[in-house]
């Protein structure tokens, strides 16, 4: 899914988003939706969050390379964080995972999905995993 919102060369290679030049004046939820739709696996994270680190390790261990947005490095990170918290429906805003543009959830949802065996097919479907 391409979006002229992101035009930086090598965008698909980098794991980190630098939205400073874009996204001015957009509603945070819209931004989140746009960011989530941009990659197969999108994780909203914070550089200081250890649970986010755990989730990153989980994906790496499975051979998945997620696109990670460090919310605390975003100039409008606070409003992003508030929106994410609402979406997660839980105590913390991050980590929050989208696969194929659709919200999967926080750490417990991702783990439950993995244990139940639903995660891998979802990843394959989104093109994040190849057999």
């Amino acid at each position: 899914m391409h979006n002229n919102y992101y035009e930086t060369a090598g965008w698909w290679n980098s794991s980190y988003n630098y939205p400073a030049k874009r996204s001015v004046g957009t509603d945070p939820l819209e931004r989140i939706d746009r960011m989530a739709s941009a990659s197969a696996v999108v994780m909203f994270s914070m550089s200081t969050c250890c649970m986010c680190h755990a989730l990153k390790r989980l994906f790496c261990g499975m051979g998945v390379n997620p696109t990670v947005y460090e919310v605390d490095e975003d100039p409008r990170g606070n409003e992003l964080e508030r929106a994410l918290k609402r979406l997660s429906g839980g105590p913390s805003a991050v980590p929050l995972v989208f696969i194929g543009g659709k919200l999967v959830g926080a750490m417990d949802s991702v783990m439950a999905s993995h244990i139940s065996g639903a995660l891998v097919p979802l990843l394959k479907e989104a093109g994040a995993l190849w057999l």
Binding site: S92, M111, S116, G117
Partner: protein, 477 residues
């Protein structure tokens, strides 16, 4: 002092009867060496002012008269009524005329001064256990209920053939005052004795409680509940321990239900109800752990709620799901090929999840170490606040680990048939039951026998030596 306490401890363990054996032997020493006797006087004889008086007096007397032993042995303690008049029978013959000068000193003492004096003299000895003085220095034929009365009243000033003439010559008023003082001293001695006895019994009760607590903890149960003495368990932890103990009882019930259901070959529908009930039972403990993690995550993560053997295998506050699957794989035959794939898939995904959580926790620990290490003197509070914030993330990890455990059990239920699931949960329950039993056996394993290995042999020998050395102390008497 320490060795004396050892001796005292050994004696107190051997029971009150031992005191009676040793006490008579201590008397001559007390008489001949009144100073040292205050220290040796540890079998529980109450040191009181009366003895002090007598000892002071007799110190002088013994030079003159070797028969001073006599009165203490033959002393009979009269009734508790106040003896105002000094006309004592002839048995108090050996008391010295010097007593009258002492009586002068004594008469100026008020009751409280007597107390203070005996108290201050007693301070070095007070930690040592004092049994009732009725146990003390009594000739076997006469165990008197109130020796104090006698010792108090049997002051050197009152009678004795040598002193009797002197006592009769002493002014009546002085004698009455002395008697009043004696009575006051006696009363304060009795009060002190009662208080010390109370302390002693409380001390014994406390050590018993601590032993019980230790035993109960090692068996994975907590008897009693919050607010346990010692302060090393929070109320949140104590509450969880109680709930966990109840959960274990429920577990036994569920297990026997499963067992009888399998043996009775119930229909799948009926069995399903029981199996789902067991899953709900596990869901309950995870819910309780979630609540406990909010109030005392350390209690969970250090495994203080489990038995030692379980604690050995603890992973993030509970069992490691992949280990459980590994154990079950061998126990769950026969399985269809699809089921085998499912179980191996479950093992792999749980291993991946465990690995991820462990790495996340490791990063948390590293971050915490850095915060604590980099705290400067000026910025201490700030760093502490940051560290506290990081610590609060521990709760999240324990929650996620419990979530993983719960999901693993649910997935097992989905992969297996009802009957297989029933057997599977029975296996799980029995496995952890055996692990807990192992802990109990370990905690209560015999340590007194010399059959076991060297380390426990050493302990045994040391114990024996301790007891023997303390007994040797008194064999001299």
């Amino acid at each position: 002092m320490a060795s004396q306490r050892l001796g005292e401890a050994a004696l107190s363990e051997s029971g009150p009867s031992h005191h009676h054996h040793h006490i008579p032997y201590s008397l001559p020493h007390m008489l001949h060496h009144p100073n040292t006797s205050f220290i040796r006087n540890q079998e529980g004889s109450a040191f009181d002012f009366g003895e002090l008086e007598e000892a002071i007096v007799l110190q002088g007397v013994k030079i003159n008269n070797d028969e001073t032993k006599q009165p203490l042995y033959t002393t009979v303690r009269p009734a508790a009524t106040l003896e105002m008049f000094p006309s004592w029978p002839m048995r108090f013959q050996q008391h010295t005329p010097r007593g009258s000068s002492k009586s002068g000193e004594e008469s100026t003492d008020s009751g409280s001064a007597v107390n203070t004096l005996s108290t201050t003299r007693l301070e070095p000895d007070s930690p040592i256990s004092r049994k009732t003085s009725s146990d003390h220095r009594l000739p076997p034929p006469q165990p008197p209920p109130q020796m104090d009365t006698g010792s108090g009243v049997d002051s050197p000033r009152t009678g004795g053939s040598q002193t009797q003439p002197a006592a009769k010559q002493a002014p009546e008023k002085t004698l009455r005052r002395l008697a009043q003082n004696r009575e006051a001293a006696r009363k304060s001695r009795l009060r002190k004795k009662a208080y010390v006895q109370q302390l002693e019994s409380s001390r014994i009760r406390l050590t018993q409680l601590e032993q019980d607590l230790q035993r109960a903890r090692s068996q994975g149960l907590l008897l009693g509940g919050g607010g346990v003495a010692g302060g090393n368990i929070s109320s949140g932890g104590a509450i969880f321990d109680m709930e966990y103990a109840r959960w274990l009882d429920d577990d036994h019930r569920h297990m026997s239900e499963l067992r009888t259901a399998l043996q009775a070959h119930l229909s799948d529908g009926d069995l399903r109800v029981i199996v789902d009930g067991y899953i709900a039972h596990y869901d309950e403990i995870f819910r309780l752990k979630g609540v406990a993690a909010k109030s005392d995550v350390f209690h969970l993560i250090t495994g203080m709620w489990t038995t030692p053997a379980e604690r050995c295998f603890l992973w993030m506050g509970g069992f490691r799901p992949s280990d459980l699957i590994k154990m079950l794989i061998t126990q769950l035959d026969p399985l269809t090929e699809q089921q085998v794939m499912g179980i191996y898939g479950l093992q792999q995904s749980s291993q991946q999840a465990e690995e991820a959580l462990s790495q996340g926790l490791e990063q948390l620990q590293q971050s915490l170490i850095n915060t604590i290490a980099n705290g400067s003197i000026n910025d201490n509070m700030h760093h502490m606040a940051v560290a506290l914030g990081k610590l609060s993330n521990l709760e999240g990890f324990v929650r996620q680990a419990d979530n993983l455990r719960q999901q693993t059990l649910h997935q097992l239920r989905r992969i297996l048939t009802v009957r297989q699931a029933a057997r599977c949960f029975l296996v799980i329950g029995e496995y952890y039951g055996r692990l807990r039993a192992l802990s109990s056996l370990w905690a209560s394993r015999p340590r007194e026998t010399l059959i076991v290995d060297d380390s426990s042999c050493q302990t045994t020998t040391t114990d024996l030596q301790m007891v023997q050395s303390s007994q040797n102390q008194f064999s001299n008497f």
